[in-house]
């Protein structure tokens, strides 16, 4: 690992969007948890595909179809390697992480869960990891348990043996999109497997920000999205252990997922295509491959180191400048969290805060972050959320901290 400082200026120059001013100010983009910006390499890979290799995949023996297929499968191998999967057939492309979790519930859940079975979630889950299970519960009468959350915004892992007793699946966020809290995955996986439950991880915030190794983590399913890791929208990933995918029925039916179709029925083709009915988002998958190359060249250990340092700077600076006027949810210790900060500032509503910050080009999310049960537990309707990534540096944090004073001026009463 190098001890060179992470070169944010060089990274920023790879992202065309930073060339455009917002409200006549430079863009201070602090919503990468919502979606990341895209480097030129990703945009170029997608354009290049359409300009020089466009054809449908796995459809013909002609040159372009073969080229398109090889580029798409090349991207699959890159993604597999990026997350430590040795078998690229375990990487299933979906529309997004939401579809990946729906696939787990709709395919694995439908054949493996019956009345009286239990799925364990937590209070801080994203709606994408709550609603599919509610839907399954309505259909099959399964029980859903919600692990509590600690005062500093982490999933409370005390008493896991009791919580997991009799559970069939534990499906948890690996890193909170609200508080940035990292979940102790080793503890979760060990306890879940000891209880005979499988483990699914919502890794949307993990994979873009931390080195991720599915073999080391030991989970059974993992879902994440391309667009939060410098890739395009429209493609997500479900990774699952091969034997689980083999045993699962298809999620959607159509072209590309069959071995044979007759008037009587159908048989499915091999993994991973069994779960990829219809023409996939080919250009987007290739874009994701380029995003993985881009992040790998930066080195995910370096990315993590940069974000831990910037997280420490954020937490320190906002407290120094605004003291008790600001409340930041989530762990105080940077090593236990990613750079996602939900915060309250005085009594200014997050929506108004976001509007005022926008005047300075500072882009933060305001709302419930698709985690309403967690918002209810925090006792708030909404929070403002700033999140950091590879193109942010201390000057972005300073801009945010300065801009908060504008809100104070307008809404101090």
């Amino acid at each position: 690992m190098s001890s060179e400082p992470f070169d944010v200026a060089a990274v920023r120059s790879d992202f065309p969007i930073f060339d455009e001013p917002i409200n006549d100010r430079r863009l201070v983009y602090l919503d990468s948890s919502g979606t990341s910006q895209k480097p030129r390499a990703v945009l170029d890979a997608m354009t290049d595909f359409y300009e020089s290799a466009n054809a449908n995949v796995h459809r013909g023996a002609y040159f372009l179809s073969d080229l398109a297929s090889r580029r798409m499968e090349g991207a699959r191998s890159k993604v597999a390697k990026f997350i430590g999967a040795t078998d690229s057939a375990e990487v299933v492309f979906t529309k997004n992480a939401t579809e990946a979790i729906n696939l787990i519930a709709g395919s694995w859940g439908r054949v493996n869960l019956n009345k009286g079975d239990a799925v364990v979630l937590s209070m801080l889950e994203h709606h994408a990891n709550i609603v599919p299970w509610h839907m399954l519960a309505q259909e099959r009468g399964i029980e859903i348990r919600f692990l509590p959350v600690t005062g500093d915004g982490q999933i409370d892992l005390t008493d896991l043996d009791r919580w997991f007793d009799g559970a069939n699946l534990v499906s948890l966020s690996a890193m909170s999109n609200v508080t940035g809290a990292l979940t102790d995955l080793e503890r979760v996986v060990t306890a879940a497997h000891a209880a005979g439950a499988l483990v699914a991880l919502d890794a949307c915030q993990l994979v873009p920000h931390l080195p991720t190794d599915v073999a080391a983590i030991g989970a059974d399913f993992m879902a994440f999205s391309a667009h939060k890791m410098c890739g395009p929208t429209g493609v997500g990933v479900l990774w699952a252990r091969r034997e689980l995918l083999e045993a699962m029925p298809p999620f959607m039916g159509g072209g590309g997922m069959i071995a044979n179709v007759t008037t009587e029925g159908f048989t499915t083709t091999e993994l991973p295509h069994k779960f990829e009915a219809g023409t996939p988002p080919i250009a987007e998958i290739i874009g994701l491959g380029a995003a993985v190359d881009y992040l790998s060249a930066l080195d995910m250990h370096e990315v993590r180191r940069h974000e831990v340092e910037l997280t420490a700077y954020f937490l320190r600076t906002i407290k120094e400048r605004h003291g008790d006027d600001v409340v930041v949810h989530g762990p105080a210790e940077p090593s236990q969290r990613g750079g996602v900060f939900s915060f309250a500032y005085k009594d200014v509503h997050p929506h108004d805060l976001s509007q005022v910050l926008d005047q300075r080009g500072v882009s933060v999310r305001a709302g419930h972050h698709c985690a309403k049960p967690f918002m209810t537990q925090l006792g708030v309707g909404a929070t403002a959320r700033a999140s950091l990534y590879i193109y942010n540096d201390e000057s972005d944090v300073d801009e945010l901290v300065d801009a908060l004073s504008d809100a104070s001026e307008l809404f101090s009463f």
Partner: protein, 153 residues
């Protein structure tokens, strides 16, 4: 602050700071509805007491940003004592004042907006500025949509 004067007019901030008709009414007999802005978590509750056709009392609950809560407060002041027919006209007038963008984007492909009814808007006029901030239009219209729902309940 520069650029936001049209949105955060003094009278809007005043209604946000000192909301009118905050509270609850006993329901039934009061008609009640709860409205959410699913994008951002704004929440408005509306209770109405009716005598015949006339609104005799209003109460507003909920939480949210300055625009959603000020709009609810202004609405509560404007509708008390009015008949259902008058409120129907007022609702159309207010929404056509604020939702130019909504119409243009969503359901109007003719490019021609219907002529709004000729109604005295008073304080409500202050919310006109939200048209310049399209993401806030839903905050401003939430209470009016909730009112319609309450009347239909």
């Amino acid at each position: 602050m520069a650029g936001l004067e049209d949105l955060y007019k003094e009278i809007v901030i005043d209604h946000y700071r000192s909301p009118r008709n905050r509270g609850e009414l006993v329901s039934p007999p009061a008609k009640h509805a709860e409205g959410f802005n699913p994008l951002c978590g704004d929440e408005v509750q509306v209770w109405i007491d009716l005598e015949g056709d006339t609104i005799t009392n209003v109460a507003i609950g909920g939480q949210g940003c300055s625009i959603s809560q000020a709009s609810a407060s202004m609405m509560s002041a404007a509708i008390k004592g009015k008949t259902i027919a008058e409120i129907g006209e007022l609702t159309v007038a207010v929404k056509s004042m604020m939702s130019v963008h909504e119409h243009a984007l969503e359901d109007d492909d003719s490019g021609v907006l219907p002529e709004p009814p000729d109604v005295e808007l008073g304080d409500l006029e202050a919310l006109k500025g939200v048209v310049k901030f399209p993401v806030r239009i839903k905050c401003a219209t939430l209470s009016w949509n909730t009112l319609v729902e309450a009347l239909n309940n």
